[in-house]
Amino acid sequence: MIPPSPPPPVKRRIRLSDVFVLSGIAVLLAFALANIQANMAAAGVHPGFGFLTKEAGFDVSETLIPYSPGSSYIRVILAGLANTVFLAGVCIILATVIGVLMGLVSVGPSPAGRWLAVAYVELFRNLPKLLVLLVLFVAAVNGLPHVREAMSAGPFHLSNRSLNFPVPLWDGKGWILLLALAAGLILPRLIEAHLQKHWGRSTPMPLSVLIGCPIVCVLAASVLFQVPSGFSVPELKGFDFQGGARVSLQFCVIAVTLGIYHGAQIAEVVRGGLQSVPKGQSEAAQALGLTRSQTIRLIILPQVIRIIIPPMNNQYVNLIKNTSIAIAVGYSDLMSVSGTVINQSFKPLEMMLITMGLYLVLCMSVATALNTYQARLIGRETR
């Protein structure tokens, strides 16, 4: 087969119409900025970011970084950002798992499964997500028991406030276990290399050794260095559980809401991807004598992934932005803290710019990462 000839190189010539449009936009932007500035000055408003170092003075529902009301506005914004990133990360994983599973079911052999997948997709893509969130939140708050009557399974407790569970006490020595884990992962490879060098033949380690070695190493290090030194176990004291770790109910509810909401849309993306690979591809693979799993792994999946990355990118970016509905049920995300900061400092323009900038950076980094991955996939195939 004659390979297709590459397209002719694009001529780098700037067109007059482009210049007009771009300079028109630039003039409009400059005019808007000058106008805002002039009118703010006339109204006695002096824009600036000096307020960021002032004391925030309010508390947030939960934080991943140390924060108290005495901390600065910068810190509370960072705490909100960390909450948003964490929530978005959990939601992306959840939505992807749900979406891929439902997508597979929707093209699968079982008619009941297909019917279920269609019902799920149609239900959740036709409901507003804020409504789903509020319904689930109210249902969870009503349905789950009060903290004093929490459902308990050993040291795990679930109430309408939170999920409380024990956590190991690291005493700052957690790195020892990480080191042991790394050693456990590398050791089998070293032995492999050693054997190859001295015996001159490749002897791949069995899977049991590859998995077992890190486990044994970590356990040995744990016993030897007494890491963790113990567990912090949640106990009901006074009004609430003390000790252990806590995941708030609102976090769970938002994660589930966005997980199933975007899961429905991802299921459609996956279904579209699967159905876009012509049947002839798998028939050809079978004709070549590939097994079913080889067909999926080597023929179907690479094509599907390449097709679904752009719409998945869109889903992930939408999901990140949609975490902002968390404000409705009291999860202190970026949007929530930004709103409170605006009300306290009354710097709406500055805070909105900061908030927009942070969401922009967050969404663009995810989009860029996925685009790079796709470019690499395409590059690998055309090589």
Binding site: A32, N35, I36, N39, M40, A42, A43, G44, V45, G57, F58, D59, V60, S61, S68, P69, G70, L134, F137, V138, V141, N142, H146, V147, N160, R161, K237, G238, F239, D240, Q242, L249, Q250, S324, I327, A328, V329, G330, S332, S336, G339, T340, I342, N343, Q344, S345, F346, P348, L349, M352
Partner: protein
Amino acid sequence: MKLVLSSLVAAMTAAAASPALAGPVLDEIKEKDQLICLVNPNSPGFSVPDSNGVYQGFNTDFCRMAAAAILGDAGKADIRGIGFSDSMKTLVADGAHMASRSITATGTRDADAGMAFVATTFYDGQGFMIPKSIGVTSATQLEGATVCAEDGSTTLLNIADWFSDRTISYRVENIADKTARLEAFFNGKCDVYASDVTALLSDRLLSDTPEAYTILPEVISAEPLTLVTQPDQALEAAVFWAFQVMLNADVYGITSDNVDQIIADLGSYPKAVNRLFAEDSATAEMAEKLGLPQDWAYQVISQVGAYSEVFEKHLGKETAFGLELNETANALTADGGQMYAYPIR
């Protein structure tokens, strides 16, 4: 969010359009023959839509007061329900003329160029509501408790101050959606609900069992709930003095029921009453200078009533709140409260 953005855009265009004249907002109200006034969309007693979708309540009556004073017709108040933090943005962005929605006057808010705090209609304070079943009698026993409060409000700062001053540890649930917040409290997701005492009284009524909740004695903040207008000297003066007319009416025992009788026989009433309603009165002189209807003081009293009338109608003993005006800080100074009627002369 859409509202915020559109109001920002509106702010930019409005700022470009209007030079700082005395009274441009008042002129705009008269030109459109309508006064846009923002209230809380769901606050029983203060502002809730009735069966016809018309907002009724204590706060809405001050919207009607302003419309009666400026346009001569309380019905020309275009009363719109809006959330707390959006209301201030809307006002700054020229999306409304005034707000009567229990906004606390604070120094930094007033210092902002886009809002004028005009007249305090209600002296409130922030308190704590608890289910009686948790058996707490003072907020100092709330060590380790979870507190529900509205996201973005000064409530969050007051709680943080109060608990940290007493080194009491607590957890906050800052929930923006009111339904979600109240469901969380009524179902025990939080132990305590913090808000202005009057809001607590009003929200308690939304529970299936209001009697199961009680309000702790600690009032931890001063909350002068104040009418806010767009900055405009003439509009501020009109709203401020319309409110003073309502207070003066209480001082002299004038109500919407007897005001016609009094005017028919003005000669036999004190000078101060004459200065309110006579044709060559102080209010008529003010009307000319501010550009109000000549009989604006009469319109306010006949269409809206005296301050105590409004209070009794929406929050008084006959209502579910059962508040006794003279037991609150909202009584006239003569009765031990903080409502001080300025002289109209």
